[in-house]
Protein backbone atom coordinates (compact mmCIF):
# COMPACT_ATOMS: atom_id res chain seq x y z
CA UNK A 1 0.00 0.00 0.00
CA UNK A 2 1.52 3.30 -1.12
CA UNK A 3 0.30 6.48 -2.74
CA UNK A 4 -1.86 4.83 -5.44
CA UNK A 5 -5.12 6.20 -3.99
CA UNK A 6 -3.77 9.57 -2.86
CA UNK A 7 -5.38 12.71 -4.25
CA UNK A 8 -7.57 13.00 -7.33
CA UNK A 9 -4.86 11.57 -9.59
CA UNK A 10 -1.72 9.92 -8.26
CA UNK A 11 1.36 9.63 -10.43
CA UNK A 12 3.55 7.29 -8.42
CA UNK A 13 3.08 4.63 -5.74
CA UNK A 14 6.10 3.35 -3.86
CA UNK A 15 7.79 5.44 -1.19
CA UNK A 16 9.59 4.96 2.10
CA UNK A 17 7.10 7.50 3.43
CA UNK A 18 4.11 5.25 2.60
CA UNK A 19 3.24 5.13 6.33
CA UNK A 20 1.86 8.61 5.75
CA UNK A 21 -1.11 6.96 4.04
CA UNK A 22 -1.71 4.59 6.99
CA UNK A 23 -1.72 7.57 9.36
CA UNK A 24 -4.04 9.45 6.98
CA UNK A 25 -6.49 6.52 7.02
CA UNK A 26 -6.46 6.65 10.82
CA UNK A 27 -7.35 10.35 10.74
CA UNK A 28 -3.95 12.00 11.09
CA UNK A 29 -1.88 14.28 8.86
CA UNK A 30 1.76 13.67 9.70
CA UNK A 31 5.15 15.21 9.00
CA UNK A 32 8.63 13.80 9.65
CA UNK A 33 11.45 14.94 11.92
CA UNK A 34 15.11 13.90 11.74
CA UNK A 35 15.96 12.10 14.99
CA UNK A 36 19.54 13.40 14.86
CA UNK A 37 19.20 17.11 14.06
CA UNK A 38 15.49 17.71 14.70
CA UNK A 39 14.79 19.27 11.27
CA UNK A 40 11.10 18.90 10.37
CA UNK A 41 9.91 18.01 6.89
CA UNK A 42 6.68 18.58 5.02
CA UNK A 43 6.38 17.17 2.42
CA UNK A 44 7.62 14.34 4.66
CA UNK A 45 11.12 13.08 3.87
CA UNK A 46 12.36 9.63 4.77
CA UNK A 47 15.93 10.85 4.67
CA UNK A 48 17.75 13.84 6.16
CA UNK A 49 20.28 15.25 3.65
CA UNK A 50 22.10 17.24 6.37
CA UNK A 51 22.80 14.22 8.58
CA UNK A 52 22.81 11.65 5.77
CA UNK A 53 20.52 9.77 8.11
CA UNK A 54 17.34 7.83 7.43
CA UNK A 55 16.33 7.81 11.10
CA UNK A 56 13.24 9.98 10.98
CA UNK A 57 10.16 9.99 13.19
CA UNK A 58 6.57 10.93 12.42
CA UNK A 59 4.70 13.69 14.25
CA UNK A 60 1.18 14.96 13.79
CA UNK A 61 0.50 18.37 12.20
CA UNK A 62 -2.15 19.41 14.66
CA UNK A 63 -3.54 22.65 15.93
CA UNK A 64 -4.26 25.85 14.12
CA UNK A 65 -2.48 27.10 11.06
CA UNK A 66 -2.72 30.22 8.95
CA UNK A 67 -3.76 30.68 5.32
CA UNK A 68 -0.82 32.17 3.39
CA UNK A 69 -2.46 32.29 -0.03
CA UNK A 70 -5.14 30.65 -2.17
CA UNK A 71 -6.49 30.43 -5.71
CA UNK A 72 -9.80 29.17 -7.07
CA UNK A 73 -8.93 26.97 -10.05
CA UNK A 74 -11.66 27.10 -12.69
CA UNK A 75 -9.77 25.19 -15.35
CA UNK A 76 -8.62 21.73 -14.29
CA UNK A 77 -5.91 19.87 -16.17
CA UNK A 78 -6.42 16.37 -17.61
CA UNK A 79 -7.73 14.09 -14.86
CA UNK A 80 -9.03 17.01 -12.77
CA UNK A 81 -11.75 18.32 -15.11
CA UNK A 82 -14.59 17.04 -12.92
CA UNK A 83 -13.10 18.60 -9.77
CA UNK A 84 -13.06 22.19 -11.06
CA UNK A 85 -13.68 24.65 -9.63
CA UNK A 86 -11.54 23.84 -6.60
CA UNK A 87 -9.56 26.12 -4.30
CA UNK A 88 -5.87 25.42 -3.72
CA UNK A 89 -4.25 26.96 -0.68
CA UNK A 90 -0.95 27.13 1.12
CA UNK A 91 -1.25 26.84 4.90
CA UNK A 92 1.43 27.46 7.50
CA UNK A 93 1.40 25.32 10.62
CA UNK A 94 3.84 25.00 13.46
CA UNK A 95 7.13 24.68 11.60
CA UNK A 96 5.74 23.32 8.31
CA UNK A 97 3.79 24.52 5.28
CA UNK A 98 1.24 22.44 3.40
CA UNK A 99 -0.37 22.76 -0.03
CA UNK A 100 -3.92 21.38 -0.10
CA UNK A 101 -7.43 22.30 -1.12
CA UNK A 102 -9.74 24.40 1.00
CA UNK A 103 -12.88 22.59 2.14
CA UNK A 104 -15.90 23.38 -0.02
CA UNK A 105 -17.67 24.27 3.25
CA UNK A 106 -15.83 27.60 3.24
CA UNK A 107 -17.62 30.15 1.09
CA UNK A 108 -15.46 32.12 -1.33
CA UNK A 109 -16.40 35.46 0.25
CA UNK A 110 -15.15 34.22 3.63
CA UNK A 111 -11.67 33.28 2.40
CA UNK A 112 -9.01 35.69 3.65
CA UNK A 113 -5.22 35.49 3.65
CA UNK A 114 -4.28 35.14 7.32
CA UNK A 115 -7.42 33.24 8.39
CA UNK A 116 -7.07 30.33 10.83
CA UNK A 117 -7.12 26.79 9.45
CA UNK A 118 -6.88 23.19 10.51
CA UNK A 119 -5.75 20.35 8.28
CA UNK A 120 -7.47 16.95 8.29
CA UNK A 121 -7.93 13.85 6.11
CA UNK A 122 -10.76 13.87 3.56
CA UNK A 123 -12.31 10.96 1.68
CA UNK A 124 -12.66 11.40 -2.08
CA UNK A 125 -14.87 9.40 -4.48
CA UNK A 126 -13.76 5.89 -5.47
CA UNK A 127 -11.96 5.20 -2.19
CA UNK A 128 -9.38 7.89 -2.75
CA UNK A 129 -7.93 9.89 0.10
CA UNK A 130 -6.36 13.30 0.62
CA UNK A 131 -6.23 16.05 3.23
CA UNK A 132 -7.87 19.45 3.19
CA UNK A 133 -8.03 22.70 5.13
CA UNK A 134 -11.02 23.60 7.24
CA UNK A 135 -11.80 26.85 8.99
CA UNK A 136 -10.42 26.68 12.53
Amino acid sequence: MGFENFGTVSFTTEAKTADFINYLESGKVMATRCKQCGTTYFPPKADCPDCLSSEVEWFEVGGKGELRSYTKVNYGPTGFEADAPYTLALGEFDGVQILARLSRDIEEKDIKVGMSLTVSPVKLPENRLAYEFKRA
Binding site: S10, A15, P43, Y75, P77, T78, L99, A100
Partner: protein, 383 residues
Protein backbone atom coordinates in the same frame (compact mmCIF):
# COMPACT_ATOMS: atom_id res chain seq x y z
CA UNK B 1 38.54 34.85 -17.56
CA UNK B 2 37.99 34.37 -21.31
CA UNK B 3 35.70 36.77 -23.11
CA UNK B 4 32.55 35.09 -24.43
CA UNK B 5 30.00 36.69 -26.76
CA UNK B 6 26.76 35.98 -28.55
CA UNK B 7 27.45 36.35 -32.25
CA UNK B 8 24.10 35.28 -33.65
CA UNK B 9 20.56 35.03 -32.26
CA UNK B 10 17.51 33.80 -34.11
CA UNK B 11 14.02 32.51 -33.58
CA UNK B 12 11.07 31.25 -35.55
CA UNK B 13 7.77 33.05 -35.46
CA UNK B 14 5.94 31.67 -32.41
CA UNK B 15 2.48 30.33 -33.25
CA UNK B 16 -0.36 28.20 -31.95
CA UNK B 17 0.38 25.49 -34.50
CA UNK B 18 3.52 25.58 -36.61
CA UNK B 19 2.62 22.74 -38.99
CA UNK B 20 6.20 21.47 -39.26
CA UNK B 21 8.28 19.04 -37.18
CA UNK B 22 10.78 19.88 -34.44
CA UNK B 23 13.86 19.49 -36.66
CA UNK B 24 12.43 21.83 -39.30
CA UNK B 25 11.35 24.27 -36.60
CA UNK B 26 14.89 24.25 -35.15
CA UNK B 27 16.38 24.85 -38.61
CA UNK B 28 14.40 28.08 -39.03
CA UNK B 29 15.86 29.49 -35.80
CA UNK B 30 19.36 28.24 -36.68
CA UNK B 31 19.12 29.88 -40.11
CA UNK B 32 18.22 33.29 -38.65
CA UNK B 33 21.03 33.03 -36.07
CA UNK B 34 23.67 32.07 -38.66
CA UNK B 35 22.68 34.44 -41.44
CA UNK B 36 25.24 37.20 -42.03
CA UNK B 37 27.95 35.57 -39.88
CA UNK B 38 31.43 34.90 -41.20
CA UNK B 39 31.29 31.36 -39.85
CA UNK B 40 29.40 28.30 -41.09
CA UNK B 41 27.97 25.15 -39.50
CA UNK B 42 31.44 23.58 -39.86
CA UNK B 43 32.82 26.09 -37.35
CA UNK B 44 30.38 25.05 -34.63
CA UNK B 45 32.15 22.76 -32.17
CA UNK B 46 29.16 21.54 -30.15
CA UNK B 47 25.42 21.97 -29.80
CA UNK B 48 23.24 22.15 -26.71
CA UNK B 49 19.59 21.26 -27.30
CA UNK B 50 17.07 22.65 -24.81
CA UNK B 51 13.40 21.79 -24.27
CA UNK B 52 10.99 20.34 -21.76
CA UNK B 53 10.41 16.60 -22.27
CA UNK B 54 7.14 14.72 -22.90
CA UNK B 55 5.73 16.96 -25.62
CA UNK B 56 7.16 14.95 -28.51
CA UNK B 57 7.25 11.25 -29.18
CA UNK B 58 10.91 11.74 -30.21
CA UNK B 59 13.21 10.67 -27.41
CA UNK B 60 16.70 12.17 -27.18
CA UNK B 61 16.08 15.07 -29.59
CA UNK B 62 19.69 16.34 -29.33
CA UNK B 63 21.05 13.83 -31.83
CA UNK B 64 18.14 14.37 -34.19
CA UNK B 65 18.44 18.14 -34.33
CA UNK B 66 22.23 18.02 -34.48
CA UNK B 67 21.99 15.77 -37.57
CA UNK B 68 19.40 17.96 -39.29
CA UNK B 69 21.55 21.07 -38.80
CA UNK B 70 24.59 19.30 -40.24
CA UNK B 71 26.46 19.33 -36.94
CA UNK B 72 27.22 15.58 -36.76
CA UNK B 73 29.82 14.32 -35.61
CA UNK B 74 30.27 17.26 -33.20
CA UNK B 75 29.09 16.62 -29.61
CA UNK B 76 25.43 17.33 -28.85
CA UNK B 77 23.43 16.93 -25.66
CA UNK B 78 20.18 17.93 -23.97
CA UNK B 79 19.64 20.31 -21.05
CA UNK B 80 16.40 21.02 -19.24
CA UNK B 81 15.14 23.47 -16.62
CA UNK B 82 11.59 23.58 -18.05
CA UNK B 83 10.78 27.16 -19.13
CA UNK B 84 14.36 28.39 -18.63
CA UNK B 85 16.06 25.53 -20.50
CA UNK B 86 17.71 27.71 -23.15
CA UNK B 87 19.12 30.16 -20.57
CA UNK B 88 20.61 27.14 -18.84
CA UNK B 89 21.95 26.10 -22.25
CA UNK B 90 23.66 29.48 -22.60
CA UNK B 91 25.24 29.04 -19.16
CA UNK B 92 26.61 25.64 -20.15
CA UNK B 93 27.90 27.02 -23.48
CA UNK B 94 29.67 29.85 -21.64
CA UNK B 95 31.24 27.33 -19.25
CA UNK B 96 32.49 25.05 -22.02
CA UNK B 97 34.02 27.97 -23.91
CA UNK B 98 35.58 29.48 -20.78
CA UNK B 99 37.00 26.08 -19.85
CA UNK B 100 38.71 25.89 -23.24
CA UNK B 101 36.79 22.84 -24.40
CA UNK B 102 35.14 24.54 -27.39
CA UNK B 103 35.38 27.83 -29.30
CA UNK B 104 31.89 28.09 -30.78
CA UNK B 105 28.69 26.51 -29.46
CA UNK B 106 25.10 26.55 -30.76
CA UNK B 107 22.32 26.66 -28.14
CA UNK B 108 19.02 25.56 -29.65
CA UNK B 109 15.73 25.73 -27.76
CA UNK B 110 12.51 24.30 -29.13
CA UNK B 111 9.00 23.26 -28.15
CA UNK B 112 6.11 22.03 -30.22
CA UNK B 113 3.32 22.31 -27.68
CA UNK B 114 0.59 21.78 -30.28
CA UNK B 115 1.38 18.05 -30.11
CA UNK B 116 -0.81 18.09 -26.99
CA UNK B 117 -4.23 19.48 -26.09
CA UNK B 118 -4.29 22.48 -23.78
CA UNK B 119 -5.49 20.33 -20.84
CA UNK B 120 -2.81 17.71 -21.50
CA UNK B 121 -0.17 20.44 -21.60
CA UNK B 122 -1.51 21.79 -18.29
CA UNK B 123 -1.21 18.30 -16.80
CA UNK B 124 2.41 17.99 -18.01
CA UNK B 125 3.24 21.39 -16.53
CA UNK B 126 1.48 20.43 -13.29
CA UNK B 127 3.83 17.46 -13.09
CA UNK B 128 6.69 19.96 -13.28
CA UNK B 129 6.01 20.28 -9.53
CA UNK B 130 6.16 17.64 -6.77
CA UNK B 131 4.24 14.68 -8.22
CA UNK B 132 3.75 12.80 -4.94
CA UNK B 133 2.72 15.62 -2.65
CA UNK B 134 1.31 18.46 -4.76
CA UNK B 135 0.34 17.46 -8.32
CA UNK B 136 -2.41 15.08 -6.97
CA UNK B 137 -4.28 18.17 -5.69
CA UNK B 138 -4.51 19.60 -9.22
CA UNK B 139 -1.72 22.17 -8.92
CA UNK B 140 -1.04 23.86 -12.25
CA UNK B 141 1.49 26.43 -13.37
CA UNK B 142 -1.03 29.32 -13.39
CA UNK B 143 -2.36 28.21 -9.99
CA UNK B 144 1.14 28.38 -8.54
CA UNK B 145 1.66 31.92 -9.82
CA UNK B 146 -1.86 32.81 -8.66
CA UNK B 147 -0.75 31.95 -5.11
CA UNK B 148 2.05 34.50 -5.52
CA UNK B 149 -0.37 37.05 -6.97
CA UNK B 150 -2.84 36.69 -4.08
CA UNK B 151 -0.06 36.92 -1.48
CA UNK B 152 1.38 40.03 -3.18
CA UNK B 153 -2.07 41.62 -3.18
CA UNK B 154 -2.61 40.80 0.48
CA UNK B 155 0.75 42.20 1.56
CA UNK B 156 1.14 45.22 -0.73
CA UNK B 157 -2.33 46.13 -1.94
CA UNK B 158 -1.59 45.16 -5.53
CA UNK B 159 -4.82 44.99 -7.57
CA UNK B 160 -6.08 43.04 -10.55
CA UNK B 161 -6.02 46.30 -12.50
CA UNK B 162 -2.31 46.72 -11.78
CA UNK B 163 -1.73 43.25 -13.22
CA UNK B 164 -3.88 44.02 -16.26
CA UNK B 165 -1.75 47.08 -17.03
CA UNK B 166 1.23 44.79 -17.64
CA UNK B 167 -0.78 43.05 -20.37
CA UNK B 168 -1.87 46.38 -21.83
CA UNK B 169 1.80 47.31 -22.26
CA UNK B 170 2.96 43.96 -23.55
CA UNK B 171 0.06 43.61 -25.98
CA UNK B 172 0.94 47.07 -27.32
CA UNK B 173 4.46 45.94 -28.22
CA UNK B 174 3.37 42.45 -29.26
CA UNK B 175 1.11 44.01 -31.88
CA UNK B 176 4.17 45.16 -33.84
CA UNK B 177 6.32 42.04 -33.33
CA UNK B 178 6.12 39.84 -36.45
CA UNK B 179 7.34 36.85 -34.39
CA UNK B 180 4.52 37.07 -31.83
CA UNK B 181 1.56 34.67 -31.58
CA UNK B 182 -0.79 37.43 -30.32
CA UNK B 183 -0.60 40.61 -32.32
CA UNK B 184 -3.71 42.34 -31.08
CA UNK B 185 -3.65 45.35 -28.76
CA UNK B 186 -5.73 44.79 -25.66
CA UNK B 187 -7.37 47.48 -23.55
CA UNK B 188 -7.75 47.39 -19.78
CA UNK B 189 -11.43 46.40 -20.10
CA UNK B 190 -10.64 43.48 -22.44
CA UNK B 191 -8.31 42.06 -19.82
CA UNK B 192 -10.47 42.81 -16.76
CA UNK B 193 -13.51 41.23 -18.45
CA UNK B 194 -11.76 38.06 -19.60
CA UNK B 195 -12.73 34.81 -17.88
CA UNK B 196 -11.07 33.85 -14.60
CA UNK B 197 -8.71 30.91 -15.10
CA UNK B 198 -7.39 30.60 -11.55
CA UNK B 199 -8.23 33.55 -9.31
CA UNK B 200 -7.04 36.26 -9.42
CA UNK B 201 -5.53 35.43 -12.83
CA UNK B 202 -7.74 35.80 -15.89
CA UNK B 203 -7.32 34.56 -19.42
CA UNK B 204 -5.39 37.63 -20.54
CA UNK B 205 -3.15 37.53 -17.46
CA UNK B 206 -1.75 34.29 -18.86
CA UNK B 207 0.62 33.61 -21.73
CA UNK B 208 -0.38 31.04 -24.31
CA UNK B 209 1.11 27.69 -25.23
CA UNK B 210 2.94 27.99 -28.54
CA UNK B 211 5.22 26.25 -31.00
CA UNK B 212 8.60 27.76 -31.69
CA UNK B 213 12.38 27.48 -31.68
CA UNK B 214 15.28 29.77 -30.87
CA UNK B 215 19.00 29.62 -31.52
CA UNK B 216 21.92 31.42 -29.90
CA UNK B 217 25.43 31.12 -31.35
CA UNK B 218 28.03 31.65 -28.63
CA UNK B 219 31.76 32.12 -29.29
CA UNK B 220 35.12 32.82 -27.66
CA UNK B 221 36.14 36.48 -27.91
CA UNK B 222 38.66 36.17 -30.77
CA UNK B 223 36.26 34.05 -32.82
CA UNK B 224 33.37 36.40 -32.02
CA UNK B 225 35.23 39.46 -33.31
CA UNK B 226 35.90 37.72 -36.61
CA UNK B 227 32.44 36.22 -36.93
CA UNK B 228 30.23 39.31 -36.66
CA UNK B 229 30.28 43.11 -36.66
CA UNK B 230 28.91 43.67 -33.17
CA UNK B 231 29.58 40.86 -30.68
CA UNK B 232 27.24 41.01 -27.68
CA UNK B 233 29.31 40.17 -24.61
CA UNK B 234 28.10 37.95 -21.82
CA UNK B 235 29.17 39.89 -18.73
CA UNK B 236 26.95 38.45 -16.00
CA UNK B 237 25.42 35.05 -15.35
CA UNK B 238 23.34 34.00 -12.37
CA UNK B 239 21.44 30.79 -11.68
CA UNK B 240 19.61 29.48 -8.63
CA UNK B 241 16.80 27.19 -7.56
CA UNK B 242 13.92 27.21 -5.11
CA UNK B 243 12.06 24.20 -3.78
CA UNK B 244 10.14 22.00 -6.19
CA UNK B 245 7.21 21.99 -3.74
CA UNK B 246 5.18 25.09 -3.02
CA UNK B 247 5.23 23.97 0.62
CA UNK B 248 8.94 24.75 0.77
CA UNK B 249 8.62 28.40 -0.21
CA UNK B 250 9.72 30.93 2.38
CA UNK B 251 8.37 33.90 0.44
CA UNK B 252 5.24 34.18 -1.69
CA UNK B 253 5.77 37.82 -2.62
CA UNK B 254 8.93 37.34 -4.69
CA UNK B 255 10.84 34.54 -6.40
CA UNK B 256 13.88 33.68 -4.32
CA UNK B 257 15.55 31.90 -7.25
CA UNK B 258 15.32 35.12 -9.28
CA UNK B 259 16.60 37.31 -6.46
CA UNK B 260 19.61 35.06 -5.98
CA UNK B 261 20.32 34.72 -9.73
CA UNK B 262 20.15 38.52 -10.07
CA UNK B 263 22.55 39.02 -7.16
CA UNK B 264 25.08 36.68 -8.79
CA UNK B 265 24.72 38.23 -12.25
CA UNK B 266 25.08 41.82 -11.01
CA UNK B 267 28.12 40.82 -8.95
CA UNK B 268 29.82 39.08 -11.87
CA UNK B 269 29.12 42.04 -14.16
CA UNK B 270 30.20 44.54 -11.49
CA UNK B 271 27.06 46.62 -12.06
CA UNK B 272 23.66 47.16 -10.45
CA UNK B 273 20.05 47.42 -11.58
CA UNK B 274 20.47 51.15 -12.28
CA UNK B 275 22.94 50.28 -15.05
CA UNK B 276 20.49 48.18 -17.08
CA UNK B 277 19.16 49.98 -20.18
CA UNK B 278 16.68 47.36 -21.41
CA UNK B 279 15.35 44.11 -19.94
CA UNK B 280 13.48 41.00 -20.97
CA UNK B 281 11.68 39.40 -18.04
CA UNK B 282 9.75 36.14 -17.76
CA UNK B 283 6.14 37.37 -17.91
CA UNK B 284 4.49 33.95 -18.15
CA UNK B 285 1.73 35.71 -16.19
CA UNK B 286 1.16 39.41 -15.61
CA UNK B 287 2.04 39.04 -11.93
CA UNK B 288 5.36 37.48 -12.92
CA UNK B 289 6.47 40.76 -14.50
CA UNK B 290 5.63 42.72 -11.32
CA UNK B 291 7.58 40.17 -9.24
CA UNK B 292 10.48 40.48 -11.71
CA UNK B 293 10.63 44.29 -11.32
CA UNK B 294 11.12 43.76 -7.60
CA UNK B 295 13.32 40.65 -7.70
CA UNK B 296 15.71 42.37 -10.15
CA UNK B 297 15.92 45.54 -8.06
CA UNK B 298 14.18 47.80 -10.62
CA UNK B 299 11.77 48.60 -7.79
CA UNK B 300 11.74 47.97 -4.04
CA UNK B 301 9.64 45.05 -2.74
CA UNK B 302 5.98 46.02 -3.02
CA UNK B 303 6.68 48.99 -5.29
CA UNK B 304 6.80 47.20 -8.64
CA UNK B 305 3.32 48.34 -9.61
CA UNK B 306 4.56 51.93 -9.54
CA UNK B 307 6.72 51.23 -12.59
CA UNK B 308 3.78 50.07 -14.69
CA UNK B 309 1.43 52.74 -13.30
CA UNK B 310 3.92 55.46 -14.35
CA UNK B 311 4.68 53.72 -17.68
CA UNK B 312 8.36 53.56 -16.73
CA UNK B 313 8.69 50.13 -18.35
CA UNK B 314 7.53 51.39 -21.76
CA UNK B 315 10.16 51.87 -24.48
CA UNK B 316 10.83 55.53 -23.57
CA UNK B 317 10.56 54.99 -19.80
CA UNK B 318 13.34 54.75 -17.23
CA UNK B 319 13.52 50.95 -17.39
CA UNK B 320 12.08 49.49 -20.63
CA UNK B 321 10.87 45.90 -20.07
CA UNK B 322 9.52 43.37 -22.59
CA UNK B 323 9.23 45.85 -25.43
CA UNK B 324 8.95 42.87 -27.80
CA UNK B 325 5.57 41.96 -26.25
CA UNK B 326 6.98 39.48 -23.74
CA UNK B 327 5.80 35.91 -23.32
CA UNK B 328 2.28 37.30 -22.94
CA UNK B 329 2.24 38.35 -26.61
CA UNK B 330 4.86 36.12 -28.16
CA UNK B 331 3.52 32.92 -26.61
CA UNK B 332 5.68 30.57 -24.56
CA UNK B 333 7.18 27.56 -26.37
CA UNK B 334 8.88 26.41 -23.18
CA UNK B 335 12.36 25.40 -24.33
CA UNK B 336 12.60 28.23 -26.91
CA UNK B 337 11.68 31.13 -24.63
CA UNK B 338 15.08 31.96 -23.11
CA UNK B 339 16.68 32.11 -26.55
CA UNK B 340 13.90 34.40 -27.77
CA UNK B 341 14.53 36.75 -24.85
CA UNK B 342 18.27 36.74 -25.59
CA UNK B 343 17.55 37.47 -29.27
CA UNK B 344 15.51 40.52 -28.32
CA UNK B 345 18.29 41.92 -26.14
CA UNK B 346 20.91 41.21 -28.84
CA UNK B 347 18.76 43.11 -31.36
CA UNK B 348 18.25 45.95 -28.88
CA UNK B 349 21.97 46.28 -28.14
CA UNK B 350 22.76 46.14 -31.87
CA UNK B 351 20.04 48.77 -32.34
CA UNK B 352 18.25 46.63 -34.89
CA UNK B 353 14.91 46.44 -33.05
CA UNK B 354 13.07 48.61 -35.53
CA UNK B 355 9.59 47.83 -34.09
CA UNK B 356 10.42 49.26 -30.66
CA UNK B 357 14.03 50.35 -30.21
CA UNK B 358 15.20 51.65 -26.85
CA UNK B 359 17.44 54.71 -27.30
CA UNK B 360 21.08 53.62 -27.62
CA UNK B 361 21.20 50.88 -24.98
CA UNK B 362 24.60 49.59 -23.84
CA UNK B 363 23.62 46.96 -21.28
CA UNK B 364 20.67 44.56 -21.32
CA UNK B 365 19.32 41.88 -18.99
CA UNK B 366 17.41 38.63 -19.46
CA UNK B 367 15.38 37.11 -16.59
CA UNK B 368 14.17 33.61 -17.44
CA UNK B 369 12.34 31.46 -14.88
CA UNK B 370 11.68 27.71 -14.96
CA UNK B 371 8.45 26.28 -13.56
CA UNK B 372 6.68 28.04 -10.72
CA UNK B 373 9.91 29.73 -9.67
CA UNK B 374 11.89 26.50 -9.33
CA UNK B 375 14.74 27.64 -11.60
CA UNK B 376 15.97 31.23 -11.82
CA UNK B 377 18.35 32.48 -14.52
CA UNK B 378 19.60 36.03 -15.05
CA UNK B 379 21.97 36.95 -17.90
CA UNK B 380 23.54 40.38 -18.42
CA UNK B 381 24.77 41.37 -21.87
CA UNK B 382 26.82 44.34 -23.03
CA UNK B 383 27.35 45.76 -26.48
Amino acid sequence: MAEVAIVGAGQTAFSRQCGVNIRELSFEAFKEAMEGLDITAEDIDASIICSAPEYDKQRSPAGLISEYLGLTPKPAFYVETVCSSSSTGLRVAWSMITAGLHKTVAVIGFQKMSELSSREAAERMGRGGDIIWESPFGLTMPAGYALYARAHMAKYGTTEEHLAKVRVKNSHYGASNPKATYRKELGLEDIMNSEVITSPLKKFDCCANADGASCTIVARGDVARGACKIPIWIIGLGAATDTMSMAGRESLTGLRCAQEAARQAYKMAGIGPQDIDVAEVHDCFTVSEILAYEDLGFAKPGEGVGLIEDKQTYVDGKMPVNVDGGLLSKGHPIGATGGSQLRTIVRQLRREATEAQVKEPEVGLVHNIGGIGQYGNVTILRR
